[in-house]
């Protein structure tokens, strides 16, 4: 960390993974405070059976905001903060693969969170519950009043964008930037856990890849759902995917499927980093390897795969097919098995060990204990019969808090204490940390254990009658809540004070075995002077003829290094924030006072980002199995496209879902003219040819050919959009209103082709950037990769249209 007169500029512009990690960590703790205050307000309300402290409407807003903030802006980002800081260190890398993209991820996350909190001040926060269930989110009036939920939808879009970029970054880093000789079998538990987690939020490769891609694969589904919700609420008079009354409960089921397909993997996205942290702490403080570490890693991979086929257990009482409920019962019980292996491994690691009872290991042991309770009670909910009784009650609230807070938050707090000396060079106060743990553990159980007995009390109610008998248990829970909440102040006080006054930590205060303990505390900007090399016997070559185990010292990386500062990530994120705010904050939209500045700032940031000569050190030998031969950036584009497959797949699936269940649908060629679709198909296919010819020309060193091909692609893309705009206009202005008479066909058509059109427009912007540089003679030699990256994107957009054409025009 650098503190100087330029500190503000430094923190706003830094792209160094450690700085971004600190920003993520601090910001997530601030959101933790906000979410905690909301939770304590709710607990104070529930200690009294009648509304008093919080009106019901405010209570609903608080419960929704608490859930959204804690799950999406606290748990995952706290883990991402630690991952940002320590994954490159543990891999023996200097930074993440794309440092500026990493900073952009953070700023999108921050602005998204700001937008979410802002909803309280623009017509009231969302009050639907964090699941945003339909029809609670449906518009009740033609202008869709209640800007809070609209703005919240925009904020969630920013968050998903942040997570998608982050997922791509972590995946490429882990696959392309490992220290030479560092195999996946050498990974400590945290990188393994983050690899699995990144895949959930986005998805993975071969066996290991499957795990790392969870984030990559899950969040695009949520994004597709948000697009539907966004359109419904922003253009309620015209677009009604989820609000349509024409198709019974189909919209509700559609939202449930899309949401929980993301939502259940999200539980593991949150949990895996916590398991990874525990897997780091236990070996260090027991002085023995994690018992069955290989099986723990395989179990996480198995859980990652299974997590994508368990979402239906959240829908047992929605009236879906009994066959599907039976299927989901089996998979849900099945997903508990890998976690059994993981838990047994941790218990066995502790068994008869000489444990150094420091705060990190106390938090880790506490998290394991609470995870066992949360896990066992989760198995109850896999049973259809029990789920019918328990769904929507405080039993469920207790269960998932034991998982999310008991296992998740406590483990991550253990990680904070564990790595605080490395991040700051200072030790925290051990006695206060232990007191923090004791009060947290006691407060947590007093808070949540009584809820297991509130079997009949529904969630999300602000009041109840005294004769229900729920009062004593609620009062006990409230007492526990305040103990737990106030205990967290010890964390802030301890870490805040130790930051300045803690005793110097030295490079390796815990005698840890992983790479990060081998460099100074805090590590220098470049982490290592020389990238270490791992030999097959596990020993490490630190360069300069120095050789030792992982626990011995590395030469640090102080000295000459490229600048880590770039102002463009924060400017781009600000532009995106203003743009989405402009689209959502007014009824009816848009608000041009925000929209226009958003576009201007966004384009300015994008242009600056593209033109900036930002040095990303490359060329040092790294372990890159199984992607040897693919440049870092190209792998990033491919991984990003994998998330796009999920995104468009879900959008097309939503169309098919609605269409196959709609009572009527216009005949072929009656509403959407085949000639329009066919013309645009030929145009886009031709543009793919010119795009690939541009690559061929770049490879052959033909400047004129390259420029001509790019200009041709630009012209064809523009023609495609022009034709599409004409078709849109023709449909919208037809004497028989498409919106009034064919609401579902109109909605599906405008949203799906609209999102595709936005992708085409983005491609045109890229070509607009490429052509001037091509005229200057760039993109030959290594520069051809840039043309290749553009082509990968453009051809993907073409592929999407290849499916849209028959689905909308021929079937």
């Amino acid at each position: 960390m650098q503190i100087s007169g330029q500190a503000a500029k430094y923190w706003l512009y830094s792209t160094n993974h450690k700085d971004v990690g600190v920003l993520y960590t601090v910001t997530s703790l601030l959101f933790f405070l906000i979410g905690g205050v909301l939770a304590l307000s709710m607990r104070a309300q529930l200690a009294n059976p009648t509304p008093g402290i919080l009106p019901t409407s405010t209570y609903n807003e608080f419960v929704t905001m608490h859930g959204l903030l804690m799950i999406l802006w606290v748990l995952s980002p706290l883990a991402i903060g630690l991952a940002n800081y320590f994954i490159p260190l543990q891999l023996g890398a200097r930074d993440l693969a794309f440092p500026r993209l990493n900073a952009l991820s953070y700023w999108l996350y921050l602005f998204g969170g700001a937008g979410m909190v802002l909803t309280f001040f623009v017509g009231g926060g969302p009050n639907t519950g964090w699941t945003l269930y339909n029809p609670q989110t449906a518009c009740s009036d033609p202008l869709c009043a209640g800007a809070g939920l609209n703005v919240a939808t925009g904020a969630l879009v920013l968050l998903v964008a942040s997570i998608t970029l982050g997922s791509v970054n972590f995946i490429v880093t882990m696959f392309k930037m490992r220290a030479p000789g560092l195999k996946f079998s050498h990974f400590s538990m945290f990188p393994w856990a983050m690899l699995v987690t990144v895949v959930i939020m986005s998805i993975v490769l071969a066996i290991i890849g499957i795990a790392a891609f969870m984030m990559l694969y899950a969040f695009p589904s949520f994004l597709a759902g948000l697009v539907l919700l966004f359109a419904d609420r922003t253009f309620p008079a015209r677009l009604s995917y989820l609000s349509s009354s024409q198709s019974g409960n189909i919209p509700s089921l559609l939202w449930d499927d899309v949401f929980w397909f993301f939502g259940h993997p999200e539980v593991y996205i949150v949990l895996f980093p916590a398991i990874g942290v525990i897997g780091e702490i236990l070996p260090t403080f027991t002085r023995r390897p994690l018992y069955g570490a290989k099986y723990v890693a395989w179990s996480m991979i198995a859980a990652a795969v299974l997590s994508f086929i368990v979402w239906g257990h959240h829908m047992f009482i929605t009236g879906v097919s009994p066959l599907s409920t039976q299927l989901f019962t089996i998979t849900t019980i099945g997903v508990s098995l890998p976690f059994d292996v993981i838990t047994i491994s941790m218990i066995e690691t502790l068994y008869k060990a000489k444990i150094r009872m420091k705060a990190p290991v106390l938090f880790a042991i506490g998290a394991v204990a609470l995870f066992v309770i949360g896990g066992i009670t989760g198995v109850f909910l896999a049973s259809i019969a029990l789920d019918h009784q328990l769904r929507g009650t405080y039993f469920v609230v207790a269960h998932f808090h034991y998982i999310m807070v008991g296992a998740g938050i406590l483990a991550l707090m253990g990680g904070l204490y564990y790595w605080f000396p490395k991040m700051t060079g200072r030790m925290y106060n051990e006695r206060i940390a232990k007191l923090h743990f004791a009060l947290s553990f006691i407060g947590f159980n007093v808070l949540y254990f009584p809820m297991f007995f509130l079997l009949e009390m529904p969630r999300r109610i602000a009041s109840y009658t005294i004769n229900t008998g729920w009062l004593p248990l609620n009062q006990m829970a409230t007492i526990g809540g305040f103990i737990f909440g106030l205990a967290q102040l010890l964390l802030f006080a301890n870490l805040g004070r130790s930051l300045r006054n803690g005793t110097p930590a030295g490079p390796n205060p815990w005698e840890g075995w992983t790479f990060e303990w081998s460099t100074s505390s805090p590590p220098p900007p470049e982490n290592f002077g020389t990238i270490p090399r791992v030999a097959s016997d596990g020993t490490v070559d630190f360069g300069s003829g120095h050789r030792g185990s992982l626990a011995t010292g590395l030469p640090n990386g102080h000295g000459a290094h490229p600048s880590h500062l770039s102002r463009w990530p924060i400017i781009m994120a600000l532009g995106a924030f203003l743009f989405l705010l402009g689209l959502t904050v007014s009824s009816p939209p848009p608000n041009y006072f925000l929209l226009v500045p958003g576009v201007v700032v966004g384009v300015w940031g994008l242009t600056g980002y593209g033109r900036e000569a930002f040095v990303v050190p490359e060329g040092e030998k790294t372990a890159d199995w199984p992607f040897a031969g693919i440049p870092r950036a190209r792998l990033g584009v491919w991984v990003f496209l994998a998330s796009e497959i999920i995104f468009f797949g879900v959008l097309l699936g939503a169309y098919a879902f609605v269409r196959t269940n709609a009572a009527t649908w216009p005949a072929i060629n009656s509403l959407f003219e085949i000639s329009h679709g066919a013309t645009n198909t030929f145009i886009l296919l031709a543009s793919s040819l010119t795009a690939v010819l541009a690559l061929a020309c770049a490879r052959q060193g033909s400047k004129s050919g390259l420029v001509a091909s790019l200009v041709g692609t630009f012209a064809l893309g523009t023609l495609f959009l022009y034709n599409k705009a004409m078709e849109w206009q023709q449909l919208a202005s037809a004497p028989v209103s498409i919106f009034a008479n064919f609401p579902l066909p109109a909605t599906t058509y405008y949203i799906t082709t609209g999102v595709h059109g936005v992708h085409v427009f983005a491609g045109l912007l890229m070509i607009g950037y490429l052509i001037p540089n091509a005229l200057k003679g760039k993109y030959f030699g290594h520069g051809e990769e840039t043309i290749h990256h553009f082509g990968l994107y453009w051809h993907f957009v073409d592929i999407v249209w290849i499916f849209l054409f028959p689905l909308f025009y021929l079937i």
Binding site: L205, L635, A642, I674, A678, H795, I799
Partner: protein, 95 residues
């Protein structure tokens, strides 16, 4: 001048096939006496085939390491699984 990737001739052949298949799609829907299920299945199959041509030849996936294909195939499998189960859930509404 380096020789990398496919030749321009291959690109043009692939483009011609894509155009031909698209023309075939347009002809297919005008053929009389074809069952709707057959037409729908064939059109989706042709779209998959066209997409495969673009991925393999224009995006040059066939020349990339095999694990990269797995990353993309897994995404397709996940979407397919989501859609399949989603439709399975709705089974009772049709009976």
């Amino acid at each position: 001048m380096r020789e990398k990737g496919l030749s321009v001739r291959v690109y043009i052949i692939v483009f011609a096939v894509l155009i031909g298949v698209t023309a075939g799609e347009l002809e297919l829907i005008n053929l009389p006496n074809l069952a709707r299920d057959f037409v729908v299945t064939t059109l989706i199959g042709l779209a998959v085939a066209k997409a495969a041509l673009v991925v393999l030849f224009f995006q040059e996936l066939k020349d990339e390491p095999r694990p990269l294909s797995i990353v993309l195939v897994v995404a397709v499998v996940i979407v397919t699984a989501l859609l399949s189960v989603s439709f399975l859930q709705l089974h009772p509404f049709h009976t």
